[in-house]
C-alpha cells in the first residue's frame, strides 16, 4: 500500500510558489481546506490563480488570501459574500473569471479524468460563451469548455487513511472530490486520519490514487456563514 501521509501542513505544501494555479475545494465556507489556506497566507506567495466556487468572506477562507493581496486571478461561480473581493475586482486589481457552477465542477472532473474539453449547454447565448466555440447536437446548443490545468489542488475531507482514501461528510463534499487528481499534486487535509484498513473499501468517496499527500488537520473552525434556525 502506497503511503501518502505527511506530518504537517508545512510538508504538505512543499513546492508551492509564486504565480501558481491552485484549485480549492469547498462551497461557501463549507468543506474548505482551512489549514492549507492558513499556510498559504503564512508563506506570503503572490500572483496566485485560484479556482474555487466561492472566494470566502472578508476574514475567513480565501478572503484571507485576498486581504493579503496574494491572488492575481479568481475563477469562481459566485463571489457575493466578500466586500474586499468586490473592491479589488471593481478597481481592476483582481482579475475575475466567473463561470457557471456546473461548468466549474465538470472542468475539474475533465482534468481528473483525462478529458480535454466538454460540451455544456450552460451559458450558451450569454457573455460566458463569448469567444468560445459553440455547437449544436440534436437541436440544442452547447459551449465547448476546456479542462482546467492546475499545479495544486487543496481539498478537505472528513476522514482519510494513509493510502489517501477520503470520505466526506454532508454537503462539505461539494467540489472536493472532483478536484482530487485534477491538479499535478493533490493535497488532502482531514479531520481524522486513520490507519489503512479502518475505512470500508465499499464506502470510499475518493480512492487514494487521486491524492498525493494527506495530513491530519488541527483545530478546525468550520465557520457557519448563514446560521439559520427554526423555533422549537
Amino acid at each position: 500500500m502506497i503511503k501518502k501521509t505527511v506530518q504537517s501542513v508545512t510538508d504538505a505544501l512543499e513546492g508551492v510558489s509564486n504565480n501558481m494555479t491552485f484549485m480549492l475545494g469547498g462551497f461557501g465556507l463549507c468543506g474548505i481546506p482551512e489549514q492549507a489556506i492558513s499556510e498559504l497566507v503564512k508563506r506570503d506567495i503572490k500572483g496566485l490563480t485560484c479556482i474555487s466556487n466561492n472566494a470566502g468572506v472578508d476574514d475567513f477562507g480565501l478572503g484571507l488570501l485576498l486581504q493579503n493581496k496574494q491572488i492575481k486571478k479568481m475563477v469562481s461561480s459566485y463571489v457575493g459574500e466578500n466586500d474586499e473581493f468586490e473592491r479589488q475586482m471593481l478597481s481592476g486589481e483582481l482579475d475575475v473569471e466567473l463561470i457557471p457552477q456546473g461548468t466549474l465542477a465538470e472542468r475539474c472532473r475533465a482534468a481528473q479524468a483525462g478529458f480535454p474539453a466538454i460540451y455544456t449547454p450552460a451559458g450558451y447565448g450569454t457573455e460566458v460563451a463569448m469567444g468560445k466555440e459553440t455547437r449544436e447536437f440534436d437541436g440544442k446548443m452547447y459551449v465547448l469548455e476546456h479542462a482546467f490545468k492546475a499545479d495544486f489542488a487543496f481539498v478537505k475531507a472528513w476522514k482519510g487513511d494513509e493510502a489517501g482514501n477520503l470520505i466526506f461528510k454532508g454537503t462539505a463534499r461539494n467540489f472536493n472530490p472532483v478536484m482530487c487528481g485534477a491538479a499535478k499534486i493533490t493535497v488532502a487535509e482531514v479531520e481524522e486520519l486513520v490507519p489503512v484498513g479502518e475505512l470500508d473499501p465499499n464506502q470510499i468517496h475518493v480512492p487514494g490514487i487521486f491524492v498525493q499527500r494527506i495530513f491530519q488537520g488541527k483545530n478546525y473552525e468550520k465557520r457557519i456563514e448563514q446560521r439559520t434556525v427554526r423555533i422549537r
Binding site: 465556507l29 471593481l90 467540489f175 456563514e225 448563514q226
Partner: protein, 217 residues
Amino acid sequence: MLDKIGIAKRIAQEVKDGYYVNLGIGIPTLVANYVRADIEVEFQSENGVLGMGPFPFDGEEDADIINAGKQTITTLAGASFFDSATSFAMIRGQHVDLTILGAMEVSEQGDIANWKIPGKMVKGMGGAMDLVASAQNIIVAMMHTNKVGESKLLKRCSLPLTGVGCVKKIVTNLAVLEITAHGFKLLERAPGVSVNEIRNATAGQLIVDREIPEMSL
C-alpha cells in the same frame, strides 16, 4: 396584489406529486413552506443534497450541512449527499423536474437576466446558468416591476443574460404569465388586480386572448 408569500403560495400550486425541485434564493426558498402536505416532493440543492428538510432547531446546526444559500439545513429520511459533478448531472441531465428562481428581467422570448449589473453588482451566476440551460420546466418568481416602478417583463433584456429562451412561466405580485411564441400570455390576475394594471406594468408584448380569471390561493 400579492406579497412575496403570496407569490410563493401561488407557485407552490405548480409543484406536483413526485417532483424533484430546485429552489433558488429569495422568494423561491419560501415555496417549500406552502407545498401541499398530501403530495411527495423532494428538494435538491446544487451544493450537493437531495431531500432537504426544514432549518435546524437552535443548537442543532451543523456547519457541514448547508443549502446553496449557505444556510444551515436539515435532511429528511431518504436524503443523500453527493459531489458537485453529480449534483449538476441531476440538473443538466434533466432529472430535476422543476426549477424555481428569481430574476431581474425576463424577455418575451423567455430570456432571463439575474446575475449581473455591469459596473455595479457582480456576484456571479452560481448554478443559475446550468439550471436555466437545462431545466425543462422553469418558473420565475419575481416582482412585476423594479423599485422605481419599471417593468421587469421586457421585449428584450437589457442586462447580461443568464439564459436564452428558457423561461416557461412567470409568477409575479400581479399575475401568472406563460411565455409563448408571441409574447407573455396572461393566465391569471392577482386578487384585486385588473388586466389594465398588468398591461401597464408589462413592457413586453402582453397577450390577453380570453377572460382572465383571478388566481385562487
